[in-house]
């Protein structure tokens, strides 16, 4: 998927303007200007291309006229460039009048908010919200442990037989990974106790049980490598995901399977293994999580605790609308409606299959019907996040059970109820804005905001008791909710979005120039970035500025070889224990000018680069939009960057400077280039360099802030320090986080929302966790009427 023109054309260079060519017929115009108002001048000279209210004119200049230039900067720009073909027609005074008029009328963010204030739009569940909500309705009928164990690894039971006969069990131990080569020997207990049975060489069997923890939602591939017999069960005990029970000669076989899992959850996991009359025995169980490379499942993702199955919808939905810069559910399409129907059929089928278990009944139970009706009530209540009215009970549930007495008819009724509930807007829309915000609405806003799912039991109980009314009640729920793996998943997804991490997917680099850069390195880099983000965000300080300024990177041995080789070797200071395992990550500190937070993380530097060389334009665009918080419009025309067209002796900076030199390009590239050039110390895979193309790297340029101030940037750290101090940058971060969490424009919650949130962010030491609580509390309490009682249902 491409989110914008920059992503569609990785090789595209921008030539971009905010104002377009305006042809004006008369030259004598100029003298008459002095008496006209800014509005009059605009109408006469500008409106036929830019529209009465700056909305644009088809076939002339169809972009709407808005931006983040300050008034003086805008005045200067208009005076210099407008009207396009004959800027002389408008003198400095006239330009100032026009600038003042459009700035106040529609150009500035404040004006835009006044002209067309964004509103909270009706929206449906996003795909992630749908999947999580279904899983959590199902979960709510299962017994789950309140807390996951801290212990890691799987419980291994070792049998002195080729099956799992209890009487032949020899010993038990916890195994961190399933990564064993027994050769011609046999496994041993960790501590040989007296009376422990040793395993026979001809036959033995092992059963590993526990659960697997996953962070990200997506398709997970699993793989067994063994010359013996093995089966793998993930999220289900009935059908193995991989059945490699029957061996086939002495060679190691590889069998794989794929399953969709939702992030922030744990799934039951089991491996059965046996060998019989085979010369050797070995087994490796590997996985390939989304965005990662194949690896033996790490110990950190395995726990010996057995969790119940989770219902994961496998129906594919069309991607959510990301055109506003964040995924949201404000559009509806035929594909989406169909997907929601198929998904409802899928869920209804799966639930009906096990409805006796879920409802605590059985086919021959005389109370079955009433138990099923009760189950359906609870199902609908959970799906709708509020108690049902009598009318709803009848429509959604009771009518379908009328005159139904046979078990098969009852099953059909359950199926209908589930279909109907999952097709109802009461489920499909996080909130039905009927003008009255009650405690259940607040509960849903909190849970969809921080977790992308339905309210949990505690939230619903609080809603029922009317304990979601005051700011402090709401904030304390939000604080509680932050300490949950689902909040981590949602925040992780924000960072993926903010840092445009999907740009790095399937990235490859010129193997001749970068022989060490392979799929495994790319996957490690992603892990490194994720570790960094988690470390910063979930620390007590949770300091936004550290994201920009940190002078350390998480490296494992493989990454160290690539990123700390050669001349930098002596500079890196290892913070971790050196005796740690080879594939373990540790913080490695660099000189301040060599690494500075996410700006110089090699994963992103590699993503925003060409196959062989850096790309100051991609990097500059990224920094402009996401780090310093400025807006850029998509380029009106695309120019391809063709490396071969330049003198091979030129540096990348020289090439880009030449390519973007036309005035038409400078409107945006005056901002993009200085920022992009500041990262020229990093090559196409993000290694630090001092030379490029046999010339010393020049990363110094002058950058003009939106306020019109010019500052000199000497490298990445200067950009980071500017961004950490810049209110625009901070507000940009607050805005993006707000939109990701709430899925609505921040301005819809009041024109000053962002400014105020930023102010509080600063007051709290730029603590991201506190900002999250603020954002979600603010949006959750939106529209609460202080004088109405909030308890109870209203529909």
């Amino acid at each position: 998927m491409c989110r914008n023109a920059f992503n569609c054309h990785r090789l595209v260079l921008l030539a971009l303007l905010s104002f377009n060519f305006v042809t004006v017929e008369a030259v004598f115009w100029k003298s008459k200007n002095s008496k006209k108002s800014g509005q009059e001048i605009y109408k006469e000279m500008c409106a036929h291309c830019h529209g009465e209210n700056g909305e644009g004119v088809a076939d002339k200049y169809d972009e709407s006229l808005y931006g983040d230039r300050s008034l003086p900067a805008l005045t200067k720009y208009i005076d210099r460039t407008m009207p396009e073909d004959n800027p002389d027609k408008l003198d400095a005074k006239g330009a100032a009048k026009v600038a003042e008029y459009i700035y106040g009328a529609f150009y500035s963010p404040a004006a835009r908010a006044k002209v067309a204030p964004p509103k909270v739009e009706l929206s449906r569940l996003t795909v992630s919200q749908y999947q999580n909500a279904v899983a959590d309705i199902f979960d709510s009928f299962k017994e789950k442990p309140s807390k996951l164990t801290e212990e890691r690894g799987l419980r291994g039971e070792y049998f002195n037989a080729r099956d799992f006969n209890r009487e032949k069990k020899a010993f038990e131990r916890i195994d961190g990974q399933i990564l064993f080569s027994f050769g011609e020997g046999t496994p041993e207990p960790v501590v040989a106790e007296q009376g422990t049975n040793h395993l026979g060489e001809e036959a033995f069997a092992i059963r590993w049980k526990g659960s697997i923890l996953v962070e990200e939602s997506g398709d997970y591939e699993f793989r067994i490598k063994t010359e013996n017999g093995a089966r793998l069960y993930v999220n289900g005990h009935e059908e193995p995901l991989i059945d490699a029970w029957v061996s086939s000669g002495p060679n190691v076989r590889e069998e794989s399977g794929m399953i969709r899992l939702l992030g922030g959850r744990a799934y039951p996991f089991k491996v059965d293994f046996f060998t019989y009359k085979e010369k050797t025995a070995s087994i490796i169980v590997e996985w390939k999580p989304p965005h990662k490379a194949w690896e033996p499942i790490p110990r950190a993702h395995l726990i010996p605790q057995q969790l119940p199955v989770t219902l994961v919808v496998t129906t594919s939905f069309p991607a959510d609308d990301g055109s506003a810069g964040y995924e949201r559910g404000t559009t509806i399409s035929r594909e989406w409606d169909q997907a929601s129907t198929y998904a409802a059929i899928e869920v209804a089928g799966k639930i009906t299959d096990q409805v006796d278990d879920l409802a605590g009944t059985k086919k021959e139970d005389t109370e079955r019907k009433s138990k099923l009706i009760q189950f359906c009530h609870r199902f609908a209540e959970r799906a709708f996040r509020r108690p049902l009215s009598d009318e709803q009970k009848k429509l959604f549930i009771e009518q379908h059970f009328e005159n139904v007495n046979e078990p098969s008819g009852q099953d059909a009724a359950v199926k209908k109820v589930i279909l109907l509930v999952l097709k109802s807007p009461r489920f499909l829309y996080p909130e039905i804005p009927d003008g009255n915000v009650d405690s259940y609405d607040v509960a849903s806003r909190l849970s969809f905001g921080l977790w992308d799912t339905l309210p949990d039991k505690q939230l619903l109980e609080a809603a029922a008791k009317g304990q979601l009314q005051t700011a402090s009640e709401i904030a304390s729920q939000a604080e509680r909710m932050l300490n949950n793996s689902r909040a981590r998943v949602k925040v992780r997804a924000f960072f993926e979005h903010w840092l445009e991490m999907e740009e790095a997917e399937d990235l490859s680099k010129d193997p001749l120039s970068f022989p060490g850069f392979n799929e495994a390195v790319l996957a490690d880099l992603r892990t490194s970035l994720e570790l960094f983000l988690d470390e910063v965000v979930w620390s007590e300080k949770s300091d936004y500025r550290e994201l920009l300024l940190a002078d350390y990177v998480f490296l494992n041995n493989r990454l160290e070889k690539v990123y700390q080789a050669g001349h930098q070797q002596g500079n890196g200071e290892k913070l971790g224990e050196s005796e740690k395992k080879a594939d373990e990550f540790r913080k490695v500190r660099f000189p301040a000018d060599q690494r500075t937070g996410v700006l110089t993380h090699p994963y992103l530097l590699s993503a925003f680069a060409y196959h062989k060389s850096s790309s100051p334009i991609h990097r500059g665009v990224f920094l402009t939009r996401n780090i310093v918080g400025r807006s850029l419009k998509p380029p009106p025309m695309a120019i391809q960057f063709m490396d071969g067209r330049f003198d091979p002796k030129m540096t990348m900076r020289e090439k880009v400077t030449e390519l973007t030199s036309p005035n038409a390009c400078q409107g945006c590239h005056a901002v993009i280039n200085p920022l992009g050039f500041s990262l020229e110390h990093f090559d196409a895979i993000g290694r630090y360099r001092t030379m490029e193309n046999e010339k010393p790297v020049n990363a110094t340029s002058d950058y003009t802030t939106p306020g019109g101030e010019t500052i000199q940037l000497k490298g990445a750290r200067d950009v980071a320090e500017h961004a950490a101090k810049s209110k625009e940058a901070q507000q940009g971060f607050v805005r993006q986080l707000f939109q990701h969490i709430v899925k609505q424009p921040a301005q819809a919650y009041g024109p000053e929302t962002l400014r105020e949130l930023r102010g509080e962010f600063e007051k709290e030491g730029f603590n991201i966790q506190k900002l999250l609580v603020k954002i979600v509390s603010l949006s959750a309490s939106h529209g609460i009427k202080p004088d109405t009682s909030l308890a109870g249902g209203n529909q």
Partner: protein, 437 residues
């Protein structure tokens, strides 16, 4: 010539349909015969060998008497071909039951492996594709014979474990295909979507009225999105009403509800599977099917025949144990009754869009993993063929001298217009396809 439909070709020759069986014997015509009509194959399996004295006709040729076990086939005697003297000569790893099962349709050795039988060396899966899957792939590769599923693998009381005793169908080396032994699951596979559509249809009115109720509470701007949503639901309802059943040329079979998938339900499950199988032919959902009763070494307890012991346990008893032999005869007669019922249902079903009945275009092969239970022999494997799907000359009892069963599968493939040079282990194919036409 190849693209010409056989019936047209026959017409062009000016011979009547009555002459067809004779023409079928000409090799040049044999290769082309699959173009015109739908040809189908069902392979039915029952385990543990048979009781030879009560099974094999004494006579050879067209005049023969059906013995007790095969007596249920009397109504179809003229469409029956009994092949005595066909042997599974695949050797290598695995005991007779394993090879009997996993080499039965594949005709090729098992891989060495970790599954230990009652004797011999342990073994793994078969090292080649089975004939049903081979023909399925062949039919699916051609536009005129392509169907929704290509093949169905049905089972009756197949244990829930995958090993060389429970699998006879293979999509390729090391790729066993699991039979579905739950008729409700087969029903889901065949008609599930339709049933879901019906359920969906039945709730769409409520979905709409709910959307309308909610819509009334909204501001006019928010309403717009919900109205779009409502329009989509209405369109879906229209689509569901216009399309749907048109493609189905037969009534959806009604299955008895709540039959447990367990030993005592075997007779009911068997009839349900047969009904679904016949229906899948009527709707042309597949052209190839297997119907696997239990598994190699299957130990079903046929209490409905008054037999308490397990089938496999009984099959080990010696020939002189008359009580056991009588029970084994009864068990095998019951399997034959199921085959006869299948033939009957096919013969009662007119060929949709064609001539004759389904049985006229179907070949049923009933076979077994052993010749005889107590000796575990892989010689004289029972092969009883019913139906005219392959243009073989039916109504005969043939006696071969220990010919390889690979050659029978070659004959079936050739009859489907798929002239394989060999099937399974090529060494077991010398002599070419058995001449059965």
């Amino acid at each position: 010539m190849k693209t010409m439909q056989r019936r047209n070709f026959i017409k062009g020759l000016g011979v009547s349909a009555a002459a067809l069986p004779f023409l079928g014997s000409l090799p040049s015509l044999q290769a082309n015969r699959s173009g015109g009509r739908k040809q189908r194959l069902i392979i039915m399996f029952s385990p543990n060998g048979i009781v030879p004295t009560n099974f094999w006709p004494d006579e050879e040729g067209e005049n023969f008497t059906l013995k007790r076990i095969l007596a249920p086939l009397e109504p179809f005697k003229k469409q029956t071909l009994i092949l005595h003297g066909v042997s599974n000569k695949v050797r290598g790893d695995g005991d007779s039951h394993m090879r009997g099962m996993s080499c039965l349709l594949t005709g090729i050795e098992l891989f060495p492996g970790n599954i230990q039988g009652g004797s011999d060396t342990p073994a793994g899966w078969a090292s080649g594709i089975s004939i049903d899957q081979e023909l399925r792939n062949f039919l699916q590769s051609r536009e005129e014979s392509k169907t929704r599923f290509g093949s169905l693998e049905l089972g009756v009381a197949v244990p829930h474990r995958a090993d060389p005793w429970t699998r006879m169908s293979y999509a390729g080396p090391n790729k066993p295909v699991a039979p579905i032994d739950d008729p409700y699951l087969v029903f889901e596979k065949l008609y599930g979507q339709m049933k879901d559509k019906d359920t969906l249809k039945s709730v769409l009115d409520d979905v709409q009225s709910d959307l309308e109720t909610v819509s009334r509470k909204l501001s006019s701007e928010d309403k717009r999105m919900l109205d779009e949503h409502l329009t989509l639901v209405r369109e879906m309802e229209k689509e569901l009403q216009s399309g749907g059943e048109a493609s189905l040329n037969h009534a959806v079979p009604k299955l008895d509800a709540g039959v447990a998938i367990e030993n005592d339900s075997i007779p009911k499950i068997s009839r349900m599977q047969i009904e679904l199988l016949v229906n899948s032919f009527l709707s042309d959902s597949c052209r190839v099917a297997t119907l696997q009763y239990t598994n190699s070494v299957g130990n079903a307890r046929m209490k409905w025949l008054g037999i308490e012991e397990g089938h496999h346990t009984l099959s080990h008893d010696p020939d002189m144990n008359d009580v056991s032999q009588e029970k084994l005869t009864k068990i095998n007669t019951w399997f034959c009754e199921e085959m006869a019922h299948l033939a009957k249902r096919l013969s009662e079903s007119p060929e949709p869009g064609g001539e004759g009945t389904l049985l006229d275009n179907t070949l049923i092969v009933w076979t077994n993993e052993l010749g005889k239970g107590n000796s575990h022999t892989l010689e004289d494997i029972p092969f009883v063929l019913v139906g005219n799907g392959c243009g073989f000359k039916m109504g005969r009892s043939l006696k071969f001298k220990k010919v390889e069963h690979n050659r029978l599968w070659m004959a079936v493939a050739h009859a489907f217009g798929h002239p394989l040079q060999s099937f399974g282990n090529p060494k077991l194919c010398e002599g070419g396809p058995l001449v059965l036409a």
